[in-house]
Symmetry: C2
Subunit: 248 residues, 2 copies
DNA sequence: ACAAAAGTGTTTTAACTACACCCATGG
DNA sequence: CCATGGGTGTAGTTAAAACACTTTTGT
């Protein structure tokens, strides 16, 4: 994954540059059927940290933007393309990687729930619960922890939840997403109202059939969808979600 | 500033990597005495974009962390050290720089008001009003715009305002900072209360003398001060300011 | 008809806005 | 003593939390 060069030499003119991606998806937990947060990791096939699990990543191609590289990580490991993709942070600590100095620009991605179910798994690609991970290669545990924090944070005033869902969904499904990510129960009544207050959602004429009870109405998200980190070709992140604490 | 190598060859194994820094400081505006937002730029002394103004920056040293490099940018241009320093974003668009492909990891910094007044200026280093800049080199206009957005955003629920101020300050000074950054007037009465509600501030026994009117009380900031982007040596940003929209 | 989720209404609480008002000091 | 910024009080508004309640379906 990472071009790890000859171990031993550390003083080098240019530090290595790699792109890695934290890929989140909601999948039914093994115990209860409730959806929980998972992410795919790849087993390292070379030194350093041979055979340990690590975030998918690799060097930056000459002709791809940073986000393109991240999307390629995702395609290479899962065969899928992300519903949501945003830069997380650039990690450049001196001792992140034994051997060559390595700077990693890390992205994080969200996959649509039903599509994520199609993700390929193999001997060297496996899904893990985001909450309790074993020891990963490099500083990847810390990176995942930070990505989780960002996800939860963004969840609280964002419209990113819909990126886990298909084109239509019930309000209860949205709530399930929130509960899975934030890891706590939410009041259905209040949650519904808050969502409806957000104008970015609109009811359809359809209802989800096949449930055990009263069929819930299906809704559709109407916000400008991948409105995050848009003009990445021009390299500037978007400035959506302006929080306000106005005064006077 | 930027290692701009031989123009002409673009296909190269490793893209160039540079660190740049957006440095904000509050200085008295030329017109009114009111403080406004300024930032120092450096004039480019080589191609590309010769003689244009640009963000201070340079290559990453072998032995310095990303934030160290940003702090060094700051010291090289202003002779000062930042009160606040945080990673902004990694810019890696394909056409940011004519010639070699260049990835810039950009930091942003805040300077303490009175210390910023000591900053060196020269033929090739000059301060500009953050709000109306001429055309800068590379994509630096966009970068500054994004940094401004982040600053204003963070201002609204953060404790970063104190980084513009000295160890003690009046509440009106804090308000001046907010007004300068957010660019709108704030109600003094309500502002005071909101600040006091934030427990991170504590009154001293002293009062600021020499004003034209009733002497205002001086306060001290008590929050964990540079609590942002702390363990950068270990490369992981901090997870302070958790916003909450709790539910149930 | 009954269980359970879908969906609505209502009370309480907290936070913020707007603005009137008093206080203390320099001129 | 008066102009001005420092500082306090308070009514009105808005949003959210808590929870009781009604509706609609499958079994």
């Amino acid at each position: 994954m990472f071009t790890s060069a000859n171990v031993s030499e550390r003083r080098q003119a240019t530090p290595g540059l790699a792109i890695s991606t934290v890929i989140f998806a909601l999948r039914p937990s093994t115990g209860s059927g409730r959806p929980t947060l998972w992410l795919p990791l790849v087993r390292r096939v070379r030194q350093p940290h041979l055979k340990m699990w690590a975030l998918p990543g690799g060097p930056l191609g000459h002709d791809e933007s940073l986000s393109d590289a991240a999307a390629r990580n995702l395609a290479d490991t899962t065969g899928l393309s992300p519903r949501y993709l945003e830069q997380l942070y650039a990690f450049g600590g001196l001792d992140r990687s034994p051997g060559q100095r390595l700077v990693s620009i890390v992205y994080w991605a969200l996959l649509q729930q039903d599509i994520a179910a199609l993700a390929q798994e193999s001997e060297n690609v496996r899904w893990f619960r985001a909450d309790d991970l074993d020891e990963l290669a490099f500083d990847h545990n810390e990176i995942v922890r930070y990505a989780l924090w960002r996800l939860r944070n963004k969840m609280e005033y964002g419209s990113i939840a819909y990126n886990f869902l298909g084109p239509t969904f019930t309000l209860a499904q949205v709530r399930e997403v929130y509960e899975a990510v934030l890891n706590r129960p939410l009041d259905p009544a209040n949650f519904r109202r808050q969502l409806r207050a957000t104008v970015d959602i609109e009811p359809t004429d359809e209802f989800l059939q096949g449930g055990r009870h009263r069929p819930p109405r299906l809704y559709r998200y109407t916000g400008s969808d991948p409105a995050e980190t848009p003009s990445d070709t021009n390299s500037v992140p978007s400035t959506t979600e302006s929080e306000h604490r106005s005064n006077s």
